[in-house]
């Protein structure tokens, strides 16, 4: 029963990646990453075969809460403080982003077939979906101008890494998983504060204009 949930979850994960690529509203971007976080929690629970253990359920729930609610809340707050609603003029247009998403998906599917993994996976889609999510995060980081969107891209990248961890079926010790989660949380927390300071100092959070901050005469 649980195993049957894996494929729908992965499809939703991929679709939320496309939502992230295609939307210009920052709120929608944040929401799609939050949705990914909740999906990852569900994925980690449904990956477990046999008896559910307390740590096996609590950890995914913690992940879902942190990635699905806490971090998005932090980002929405940063969005309000920086007073930005939309990503205006990304370096790659939204249509092109969606097309590059499709290309990346094909790449991920191809790589997923090649990759030799030590353990048998419950679904052949796991590795491609994980790779796709990280690559989407990468595309977002590279192609968007606002610092906030780049943080969202970083979160998507992290979600992909988490999904890959689930795919590799490595039973990481609880401490390590909690440590990673704490790292991400602190990272986003610090980035949120940094964004606030950047927007207060420069009236915007366009990162490509930070190039002007150089000692060299231009």
């Amino acid at each position: 029963m649980m195993m049957q949930l894996i494929n729908p979850i992965l499809v939703l994960l991929v679709l939320s990646g496309f939502m992230l690529l295609g939307s210009s509203r920052l709120a929608t971007c944040i929401r799609s990453v939050a949705f990914q976080g909740v999906l990852l929690g569900l994925l980690a629970i449904s990956m477990q075969s046999g008896q559910l253990t307390i740590s096996g359920v609590l950890l995914p729930i913690t992940t879902a809460v942190v990635k699905g609610f806490l971090l998005p809340w932090l980002l929405s707050r940063a969005m309000r403080e920086a007073d930005t609603v939309r990503e205006v003029e990304p370096l790659i247009s939204y249509n092109l982003s969606i097309i590059s998403g499709a290309v990346v998906l094909a790449l991920a599917l191809w790589l997923g077939e090649r990759l030799q993994l030590p353990s048998q996976l419950p679904s052949s889609l796991l590795v491609p979906a994980a790779l796709f999510t990280s690559l989407v995060g990468m595309i977002v980081i590279v192609s968007r101008r606002k610092a906030l969107t780049q943080v969202v891209g970083y979160l998507a990248l992290e979600n992909g890494v988490y999904a890959f961890g689930a795919a590799a079926a490595l039973r990481l010790p609880v401490l390590v998983e909690l440590g990673i989660l704490l790292d991400v949380f602190v990272g986003v927390f610090v980035m949120g504060i940094a964004i606030f300071h950047i927007s207060r100092e420069f009236d915007h959070i366009d990162t490509d204009k930070l190039v002007a901050l150089t000692d060299r005469p231009r």
Partner: protein
């Protein structure tokens, strides 16, 4: 394979304008109006058939061919589709390619007729129609290819018959992706709301309507009837995928199909009532999403 039946064709011919009427009625109810009589599209077509046609001196025979080929290609496409428990009139391996190209043929002649008038408005509409169909056609092809890959059939009749509740239980993600793509194609191909506003007569926003501005009388009746049949065409595929229950009794299955048509009509009406038309520049993005959905369905 059961014996070919004329029933799908007759049902479409008789009921297709009624489906448009259901959409219009839904929109009226949501807007708090009484709405036009349900039979109004039939009266409109009847009225148009009794009028004379006016042809501009600048037009050639292509202008008069447009509506005829448009209607004929849709009717031909209809013969490939089964409905309810009744098999289609004709079925052969690979007819889904013919199906897609028949729709393209109809569109091609509508576009040619629009260009034939020499009107700049119609040229604009034709350009938009062709631009957007360049996105909907890959989406439709990929969606049909995904269904063909899933069911292992290359004929529309067998393919749609092979989609069953059993298929839904083991390939739900793939089928729902296909359904999403087909739904967007349905709205775009029939000039419905997020892509085109069927009721608008503001030339800046029109796509399909602007191409048929110069047609009158029986020609316009053919265009309207063809549009109704085209909507029925796409709706049949969507319902066959979305509601694959087969009871074995033809009439029960037909009733299920008609129920599906009603629900789809109401759903379309609700989409139109609640959504605004997308900005023209954003439409390709929606259609790209349809392509991605169906490509995803093909990959999974």
């Amino acid at each position: 394979m059961a014996a070919p039946s004329l029933f799908p064709l007759i049902a479409a011919g008789a009921l297709a304008p009624l489906m448009q009427s259901v959409i219009i009625r839904t929109k009226s109810v949501v807007a708090g109006r009484a709405g036009q009589p349900l039979m109004q599209p039939y009266w409109d077509i009847w009225k148009l058939l009794h009028k004379g046609a006016v042809y501009s001196h600048t037009t050639s025979w292509i202008f008069q061919m447009g509506p005829v080929v448009g209607l004929a290609s849709v009717v031909f496409a209809l013969t490939l589709l089964p409905f309810g428990g009744f098999p289609s009139l004709s079925a052969f391996s690979g007819d889904l390619v013919v199906f897609a190209y028949l729709i393209a043929l109809g569109r091609f002649f509508t576009v040619l007729a629009a260009l034939d008038t020499g009107s700049s408005f119609e040229g604009m509409g034709a350009s938009r129609e062709v631009t957007f169909s360049a996105f909907t056609e890959p989406a439709l092809f990929l969606a049909l290819a995904a269904l063909a890959r899933q069911t292992g059939q290359l004929s529309l009749s067998l393919l749609l018959a092979a989609v069953s509740p059993g298929a839904w239980s083991h390939a739900a993600p793939m089928l729902s992706l296909t359904l999403g793509a087909l739904m967007i194609v349905f709205l775009a191909e029939n000039a419905r709301m997020p892509v085109d506003d069927p009721t608008t007569h503001l030339e800046l926003t029109m796509i399909h309507e602007v191409m048929v501005l110069d047609h009158s009388g029986p020609d316009f009746a053919m265009i309207q009837y063809g549009a109704a049949l085209k909507m029925w065409l796409f709706a049949t595929i969507i319902i066959a995928v979305a509601a694959p229950w087969r009871s074995g009794n033809r009439w029960v299955d037909t009733a299920v199909g008609l129920m599906g048509m009603l629900i789809l009509g109401i759903a379309t009406g609700l989409v139109e009532s609640t959504m605004a038309r997308l900005r023209l520049l954003r439409v390709p993005q929606l259609l790209l999403v349809a392509i991605v959905l169906s490509a995803l369905a093909l990959a999974f």
